[in-house]
C-alpha cells in the first residue's frame, strides 16, 4: 500500500494521498540530454503526483521508438507494457477491457502513431476508450537516426539537407473528427500549459489525445526544422490559457469570467480555458477542425485544448461491462454451471 512518509514538518511535500513525489519517479533516462521527451516525463510525474493518483493504479503503455522508451523513466511503481511498433492502441484496449478500473496512459511517437500505427490509432479514437494517449511529436525517427515521419511539416529540412515534400498529418484534427473526447496540443517546453492539460486529462473519462511537440535535439532541432525549439518559440499560438482546479482543491476564480470557458470534469474538477482566440468554443467539433486547418495555412502551430466532450459514453459504457475488473471475476461468475451444459447438450440431441 501507499508508503506514507512521516509527515513531520521537515519531511518532503506529500500529495493528498500521502505520497512524496519520489514515489512517482522512474529510472534514469537514456534519451539524449535536452530531449523534449524527458520534459514530458517530468510533467507526467508532476501531474500524477498533484492529482494524487496511486501509482499502482496506472498502466503505462507504449509502442516502439524513443517516445515509447520513456515510460521506463517515470512512475516505476506503475505497471508498464512496452509493446510492438504502432500497436499500443490494441494492447491498451485489451488491458482496459480486462481492468477498466485502472488509469491507462499511453505514450507514442509520431512515427509510432501516424505511420505504422495509423490504423490502430484511428480505431482507438473511434471507440473513445478511456485512456490518455500522448504523442511525443518530433517529426522524425530518432532511433533509426533521423528519417522524416508523417507529422513533419511540408518543406521542413533535415540536417542532411533532405526536404520533406509530403504534407503532414494533423493528429489532433484527425482525433477530433474520429471521436476522441479530449484533444489538445502542447509543447514540451511549456511547463504550465502541459501540466494543466495533463491534470485535466487524468480527470477526463474517455479518450484523451494530446499531441505534444517535443523537439529532437539530435536530428531535428536546427534551422529549417519546423519541430525545433526555435521554430516553436516563434510560431506557437495558444488558443486558450489552461487552468485546472482538481476536485479536492478549493475552487478559486482568478480569470475574467467573460473570457472563460468552464468545463466540469467527470470527477467534479474544473477545467478553465481562458480564450485567446475570440469566439473559440472547445465543444464545437467543426469549428475546432476548421481552426486547425486555418492555422496550417498561416504556418502557425496552435496549442491548447481544441475539443472536449464530457457527455459521450466511453467504450466501457457501450459494452455495458460490470464495474469490477473482468480479469479477476471469480470462476463462479465466469464458468457457467453444469446444469447449463446439460441443457445445451439436451438441445443438441
Amino acid at each position: 500500500m501507499a508508503t506514507a512518509t512521516a509527515s513531520g514538518a521537515k519531511g518532503p511535500k506529500l500529495n493528498h494521498i500521502g505520497l512524496p513525489i519520489v514515489d512517482y519517479r522512474g529510472g534514469r533516462s537514456t534519451l539524449c540530454a535536452g530531449c523534449g521527451h524527458n520534459a514530458i516525463s517530468e510533467r507526467i510525474i508532476d501531474a500524477m503526483f498533484e492529482m494524487g493518483v496511486e501509482p499502482e493504479r496506472v498502466m503505462k503503455m507504449s509502442g516502439i521508438g524513443c517516445s515509447s522508451k520513456s515510460p521506463a523513466y517515470f512512475m516505476n511503481r506503475s505497471f508498464s507494457f512496452n509493446s510492438v511498433h504502432g500497436r499500443m492502441p490494441s494492447v491498451t484496449t485489451g488491458a482496459v477491457l480486462a481492468n477498466s478500473t485502472m488509469t491507462a496512459l499511453g505514450v507514442s511517437g509520431d512515427g509510432d502513431t501516424a505511420s505504422i500505427g495509423m490504423g490502430q490509432f484511428v480505431h482507438l479514437m473511434r471507440r473513445n476508450l478511456p485512456m490518455i494517449y500522448i504523442i511525443e511529436d518530433n517529426g522524425v525517427y530518432g532511433l533509426t537516426k533521423g528519417q522524416f515521419s508523417a507529422t513533419a511539416d511540408l518543406g521542413s529540412k533535415l540536417k542532411t539537407g533532405v526536404i520533406n515534400d509530403l504534407p503532414p498529418i494533423d493528429t489532433c484534427a484527425l482525433a477530433i473528427q474520429l471521436g476522441a473526447t479530449f484533444v489538445g496540443r502542447s509543447f514540451s517546453g511549456d511547463k504550465k500549459q502541459l501540466l494543466s492539460m495533463l491534470k485535466a486529462a487524468i480527470a477526463h473519462k474517455g479518450t484523451v489525445m494530446l499531441d505534444v511537440i517535443s523537439p529532437c535535439v539530435t536530428f531535428n532541432d536546427h534551422e529549417g526544422s519546423t519541430k525545433s525549439y526555435k521554430f516553436l518559440q516563434d510560431h506557437d499560438e495558444p488558443i486558450n490559457e489552461i487552468g485546472f482546479v482538481a476536485s479536492f482543491d478549493d475552487i478559486e476564480v482568478d480569470y475574467d469570467s467573460g473570457q472563460v470557458y468552464d468545463v466540469e470534469m467527470h470527477d467534479g474538477s474544473q477545467l478553465r480555458l481562458r480564450k485567446l482566440l475570440e469566439d473559440y468554443d472547445p465543444t464545437d467539433k467543426a469549428n475546432a477542425v476548421r481552426t486547425l486547418m486555418e492555422a496550417h495555412e498561416k504556418d502557425e502551430v496552435l496549442t491548447g485544448v481544441f475539443y472536449i466532450n464530457t457527455q459521450k459514453p466511453t467504450f466501457i459504457d457501450q459494452l455495458n461491462l460490470v464495474d469490477e475488473p473482468l480479469a479477476t471475476l471469480p470462476e463462479s461468475v465466469t464458468r457457467p454451471p453444469k446444469s447449463t451444459l446439460e441443457a445445451l447438450m439436451a438441445n443438441l440431441q
Partner: protein
Amino acid sequence: MATGNLALGQEQGESSARPRIVNDFTINVATVNGSGSQSANSVLLKSIFGMGVPVSGKNLFPSNIAGLPTWFTIRASKDGYVARKRESDVLVALNAETAREDMLSLPTGGVAIYEENFNLKQYRDDVVCYPVPFDKLTAALCPEAKLRKLVKNMVYVGVVAQLLHLDLKVVEKCVQKQFAKKQKVFDLNFGAVETGFEYARTNFTKQDPYFIEQMSQTEGKIIIDGNAACGMGAVFAGVTVVAWYPITPSTSLIEATTDLLKKFRVTPEGKATFAVVQAEDELAAIGMVLGAGWAGARSMTSTSGPGISLMAEFTGLGYYAEIPGVIFDVQRTGPSTGMPTRTQQADLLSTALLSHGDTKHPVLMPGNVKECFEFGYAAFDVAERLQTPVFVLTDLDLGMNNWMSEQFAYPEKPLDRGKVLTAEEIEKLGGFARYRDVDGDAIGWRTLPGTMHPKAAYFTRGSGHNDAAGYTERPEEYVAVMDRLARKFEYARTLVPAPLTYRNGKSKIGFLAFGSTDFALRESLDQIENEHGLSVDYMRIRAVPFAQEIHDFVASHERVYVVEQNRDAQLASLLKLDLPADQVVKLRSILHYNGLPIDARTITDEFATKEGL
C-alpha cells in the same frame, strides 16, 4: 411405409435389382449458394440421425454470397464412418448449371433425383432416375414467389424421405425443431415435405437398393459443428475478453461464443461479464488479446491462415514477454487467400513456429467436436499456466460441418489461473523477479496491474530483458532467459493433451495423424485390414510439443506413415525436428491437399502402393 399395390410394386422392383444397401451410402444435394437449402439439408441429416443411424454432413460451398454452386453431402454409415466418401450414391440435382456434371459423377447403379426439366436421363442409362417437377409442385404449394426457393428444398426432403423409407414422423419432429415455435413457418415447410413425399409415393416405383432403417446408434448423441463446440469450450473456460476480425471459416466460432456469452454471462442487473470486440484487423485482435491477457483476463481470438500471418509479430511478443492468450485457427486452404471455403491442415508449421527469432508455441489439435470443446477450455488453462499464447488448431471440415458426438462432459477440474502473486504474497516475499525460475518448472510468477504493493509492478517488454524484467543487452542475461523459455517448452510436453493410441499390436507398421484426418484414417485402417489382411498400429497426435509417447511409438515401429492434409508434410517435418536422427528415416508421408476433406480410399490406396501390396 407405402401400402397396398404400390408397396408390392416396390418389392418387385427391389427383387429384380441388386441386394438392398441399408444405412451405408452417401447423398449429395446439389443446389445454388444462397438458395436457403441449409435448413432442408439439416432436416434430412437430423432425420437420419433421428432414426438412430450414424450420419455426417458436409457443406461444400463456394467463396460467394449467392449464385454459385453448392453441394451438401450426407453420409449414413451403419459402421459409424463419418469421413468424406469420394463418390456419392444418391444425387439430388437442383442446380441446372451443374446438373449434367453431377449426373456424370454418379457411380453405376447410383440414384438421381432431379428437377424433371433437367432431363438428365439422356446422360446415363446406368443410373436410377426419379425426375420430379419441383417447380410445379412448389408453385402450387406456395403462392408467394419469394418463399418458393426455400420451400422447394423441403419438397426434395419429402421425396428423399419416401424413396429411402425414412419415418415421416421423425422428419416431422426435425422440421418442428428447425422452425422452433414458428407454427406458420412449420406448416408451410412440413406441407412441402408431405407434398414431396406424396408425389414420390404415387409416381415412383422404387428401383434402387438404398434404404434407411431404424438403428439405435445415435441414442444420447448430439450433432454439432466444431466451431460451435470450440466456442462452447471457451465459454466454459470462463473467457472474458474476445477480440476478433471476420474471416472464413472461423467467424462462426466467434458467433457461437458470443451467443453463449450473451445468454449465460449477463448479471441480474443486465451488466456483461465479458467483452467481445470486432477489431479493425487481426493485428489489433491479437494485440487486444495480449493486452487483456497481460492484465489478467482470459482472452481469445479466432482466425484462419491469413489472420495467422498477420498475428506473427504479436505472437512473438507474447512468447518472449510471456503473456497468456488463446488463438483458435480454423484452417482453410492456403497459401495466400487460397481457397477460403475449402479445408486443409497446412497451418501447423506456421502456428507452431509463428514469428521471427527463436519462437515456438503450444498447439492443441482437436480431432473431433468433443475435443474442440475439451481443448477449447483446456487451452486457457495451458496458456495461463505456461504464460504464453496457445493455439487451438482445427480446420474448416471439423469447424463448419456437422458431426455426431458423445455428449460433452462438464470440466472436472477448476480453472487453473496460473502463477499470479497477490499483494500479501509480495509483502511476505519482500519483492519478486518476474522472469525468475523459483519453482524449477521454468515459469516465473507474475503480478496483475492494480496489485496494490509498491513492489508489484514490473516492466513488460519485447526487447532484451533479464530475469527481473530489466532491459538488457548483456549476452549472459539474454541467454539465461532464452534457455529458461526452452525449458518451459520442454515442461509443456507434459501439460498438453497426450496422444491417443487406437491400435498398438505387434505390427511393424505404425500410422501417425492429427486433427480431422482421424475420421478417414480410422476407416482406412479397417480397409487395410479387410483388403490386405494387415492390422497396423495408429497413434493420434493431439498437441505440440510432442509427448514422450510419440517418440516411443516411432521407436517401436519399423515404418511410420504420417497422414496429413497439406503438401509439405508439415507434421512429419515437425517430427523430424524433434526425433533423434536414427528415427527420422522411419517416417513416410501420405498427403492430401486438394481442398476437399481427406477420404479413406485415398489413404488405403496410397499405402498399398507404397508398401507394394
